[in-house]
């Protein structure tokens, strides 16, 4: 029973990834596309944090720390870095969408696309 409980986060991650890929592939609205990428990013961050979990571990803060097992701090540091990068990527994508909207008056990927693959 406890074994399967540990798999719940990974199932949630798989669900998030499937949802995000569905959004990225099917949605034509650029804002929704960005939402899909943000969900994918959350899924990956969630994955990293889940990897560092140790059953019964305390939070890895040394101030007044209890003398017992701690969860791994490295994945949390990785996640933080990834969040910082995610913020800048999202900000850049959204500002580009604002500019696209100014040029074309539309944020639909099909209508605004002048470039042909």
């Amino acid at each position: 029973m406890t074994e399967s409980l540990f798999n719940i986060p990974f199932l949630a991650i798989a669900a998030l990834i499937v949802i995000s890929l569905y959004i990225i592939i099917t949605q034509k609205n650029l804002i929704k596309l960005v939402m899909g990428i943000v969900i994918l990013e959350s899924a990956v961050n969630f994955f990293l944090v889940s990897l560092g979990y140790r059953s019964g571990g305390a939070t890895p803060i040394y101030t007044n720390a209890p003398e017992k097992l701690m969860v791994l701090p490295v994945p949390q540091a990785l996640t933080l870095t990834s969040i910082v990068i995610g913020v800048s990527v999202t900000a850049l994508m959204l500002s580009m969408i604002i500019l696209i909207y100014r040029h074309t008056g539309d944020i639909d990927a099909e209508k605004s696309r002048r470039l042909k693959g």
Binding site: I61, Y62, T63, N64, P66, L80, V87, A91, S95, I98
Partner: protein, 153 residues
């Protein structure tokens, strides 16, 4: 501009948000948080100001080019601290053992000592400056551009 209730609450709360942001930055080496997190809290205060009043009014007191100077100086301070370690290696912690942030905390569980960790608190402050300026500029420019104001390049 939003209603009077929102503006009054904003006036009351923003000093505390700013204070909490600065606290998170300065205590980054002993408690959860650090430069980015504190900077993000601080910038969310500015976002609150932009929402409650409007972006033009905030822009009068907060110019983008000032923000870009703060941002660059934060980054330069960070890299400068990293360069300072070059006698050994890049990023070497030169302040260990010195009177500023140089104390070595005792082993085991402790309540946290602020004058520890060497260059790390200073780097947190540098990153904090950069994130405050950077995120505020992003929020401000986005708010301005969505209210159809021409932005200087």
């Amino acid at each position: 501009m939003m209603s009077k209730i929102v503006r009054t609450i904003t006036n009351l709360f923003t000093p505390f948000i700013f204070m909490f942001g600065l606290y998170v930055i300065i205590h980054g080496h002993i408690t959860p948080g650090g430069g980015f997190q504190g900077g993000a809290v601080f910038a969310s205060g500015i976002a609150l100001l932009i929402v409650a009043f409007n972006s033009k009014k905030v822009q009068k007191h907060l110019k983008e080019h000032h923000l870009s100077i703060i941002e660059s100086s934060g980054a330069l301070m960070f890299i400068g601290l990293a360069f300072a370690g070059l006698a050994f290696t890049f990023f070497f912690n030169i302040l260990i053992g010195s009177p500023i942030f140089g104390q070595i905390p005792p082993e085991g569980s402790n309540p946290g000592f602020i004058w520890t960790a060497g260059v790390i608190p200073l780097m947190n402050i540098a990153v904090g400056l950069k994130v405050i300026a950077g995120l505020s500029a992003i929020v401000l420019v986005m708010a301005l551009s969505s209210s159809n104001v021409r932005i200087e390049e």
